[in-house]
């Protein structure tokens, strides 16, 4: 049987879609897990999106802790007997999946971009070497744990007529010795690069923090309103918050249009935006790596190109 879990509802719905496909080819059932208070509405929603069974592990817990969540899932697995486990690949999900794998001596593939059966064995693909290769990993024993990032699979259409079973059970865990003291919101604004349709990004080619307004203005006229950046801008210079950071360790995006201004095109950055629809690069160095990953490129000083491009787009779009 196949089991899916994420502490993020949206990701759970996406996992249910892939999970039900795998369960069907194996002729097995699909379980979704809810950890927390009893939640009938959510259970119903999971069933309407493909779950055959919802296991609501009722626990008294204020916050996510990998140690306790891993123990809960371990106990749920003992009850359900599921052998294929799909977990949403956010930061919580990754450390949870890995700890669980350690406890179960199980195989685990993190950030899978595809999951399928090959020769009847569960097989998962993932990017390695900074996005320069795809490793095809095959499980040779059970259980199998795979984490899947958001937006890799689309959720199934909601079907309110679908029937399923809901199991509720109180689960006790050993209290971990770690304690959460404070949770602070890091979100600076309303930025969500992962959902954006148009992104204009800036990189090391910008000389001052203030100059980022050039990117902002272009994003505004493109009605994309979303500004992204490469690692140096967010991690080293901190001119923009990490919400804007696109790359292997930042956000992975796939907008319809991605414009990279003053970004050299390190493989780590490419790994975060390679799935974009159309990629445009602006760089004064004609040899810049970014042009190899772009559909269209302008060789020129971004301080000259960006204002002109903003005006031209403004005229075109009226």
């Amino acid at each position: 049987m196949v089991l899916v879990f994420s502490d993020d509802k949206k990701m759970t719905l996406e996992l249910l879609s892939k999970g039900s496909e795998i369960a069907k080819t194996k002729g097995k059932k699909l379980t979704a897990v809810i950890i927390g208070k009893s939640n009938d509405a959510l259970a119903k929603e999971y069933i309407s999106h493909g779950a055959d069974k919802v296991f609501n592990a009722e626990v008294n817990m204020d916050h996510f802790k990998a140690e306790e969540y891993a123990e809960i899932l371990e106990k749920v697995l003992k009850e359900t007997g599921d052998e294929t486990i799909l977990i949403g690949s956010n930061k919580n999900g990754k450390e949870l999946a890995s700890r669980l794998a350690g406890r179960l001596n199980a195989g685990c593939v993190i950030d899978a971009t595809n999951v399928y059966l090959r020769d009847k064995k569960l097989t998962a693909e993932r990017m390695v070497y900074s996005g320069n290769a795809i490793a095809i990993e095959q499980f040779v024993s059970k259980p199998c744990i795979v984490t899947i990032p958001s937006k890799v699979f689309d959720p199934l259409k909601k079907d309110d007529k679908r029937k399923g079973e809901t199991i509720k059970k109180k689960i006790e865990t050993e209290k971990t010795k770690s304690k959460i003291l404070k949770i602070q919101d890091m979100k600076s604004g309303e930025v969500n690069v992962e959902d954006a349709e148009i992104i204009v990004s800036c990189g090391r080619g910008f000389k001052n923090k203030n100059d980022i307004k050039l990117v902002d203005e272009l994003a505004q006229v493109l009605k994309g309103k979303t500004v992204g950046c490469s690692r140096p801008i967010a991690a080293d210079l901190k001119w923009l918050s990490e919400d804007h950071w696109i790359g292997l360790s930042g956000h992975k995006v796939k907008p319809k249009l991605y414009i990279a201004a003053g970004i050299s095109g390190q493989i780590q950055h490419i790994a975060g935006m390679r799935d974009s629809g159309i990629i445009v690069a602006i760089n004064k160095d004609p040899e810049a790596l970014i042009f190899k990953s772009a559909d269209y490129g302008i060789v020129g000083d971004l301080y000259e190109v960006l204002p002109k491009l903003t005006n031209a787009v403004k005229e075109k779009m009226g």
């Binding site: 001596n105 593939v109 390695v128 070497y129 890091m186 190899k292 269209y296 490129g297 002109k308």
Partner: protein
């Protein structure tokens, strides 16, 4: 305070070339190094030791030639090294189990420090797996760590949130690249590292007959098919041509 740092020898991804026909990475002949974020873990261990006194042991599961790279960490400030020679076939299960067994063999410890992920594979599995195997608390993605006598407090970077977590010892902590700037050892330190011990343990002596549960059956190339149209003449002309192209692509609306 006894600190164990787990470090991995990896291929230097930035030196890697791609085969133009197969689009696969060429792994042969690529220089090896200690994974960048593991050096951040090492730096953090040194900072903790400087404040609290104690001992730092670095553990690597890898090929025999990893000994040379362990010396770099000894030069930075580790007191002792352990190299567990890696079996021919391995996966995260094998590596984590060997690390956990090596840590148990070392005996008492307060903190196990790891990088959040290695720069070649970037899974981030090893830290939490080892914590699970040792059944100790885990604090992942730490961007600052404050170690005191009876407890450690760390601020975790969870993307949209910063979570401050506290734990008693023993604890496993994984750190991010942003936590610190790893120091460069001085010539004296590099020379001094030669006299620090590196113990070699075989995988079999720690846990015999351990087998992978996941096999990498293929490494595929990632073809990037882009139009690569470059406008490099007059800026005004280039901008005009770009806007026309984007209109035709249907992305301007």
């Amino acid at each position: 305070m006894k600190i164990i740092v787990c470090a991995k020898q990896v291929v230097d991804v930035s030196e890697m070339k791609i085969d133009p026909t197969t689009k696969k990475p060429i792994l042969q002949g690529v220089p090896q190094k200690i994974s960048d974020i593991d050096k951040n873990a090492m730096e953090e261990a040194i900072k903790i030791k400087e404040k609290n006194t104690g001992k730092i042991i670095v553990v690597t599961v890898g090929p025999t030639n990893a000994k040379e790279k362990i010396k770099e960490l000894l030069a930075m400030g580790a007191d002792e090294g352990v190299l567990v020679t890696c079996p021919d076939k391995y996966d995260y299960h094998v590596i984590s189990s060997l690390l956990a067994e090596a840590i148990k063999k070392i005996g008492e410890y307060d903190i196990v420090l790891c990088g959040e992920a290695s720069i070649d594979m970037f899974s981030g599995q090893v830290g939490p797996r080892v914590a699970g195997l040792l059944n100790i608390p885990q604090i992942t993605y730490a961007q600052s760590v404050k170690a005191e006598k009876d407890k450690v407090t760390a601020e975790r970077n969870m993307g949209d949130k910063a979570v401050t977590t506290e734990s008693t010892y023993p604890v496993l902590i994984t750190v991010t690249k942003e936590i610190n700037e790893p120091r460069l050892p001085s010539l004296m330190q590099i020379l001094g590292a030669a006299s620090k011990p590196i113990n070699e343990w075989t995988a079999d002596s720690l846990k015999s007959g351990i087998k992978p549960v996941v096999e990498t059956i293929e490494l595929k190339g990632v073809p990037m098919t882009r139009k690569n149209i470059l406008y490099k003449d007059d800026i005004d002309e280039s901008v005009g041509k770009l806007v026309d192209s984007l209109t035709k692509e249907g992305v301007l609306r």
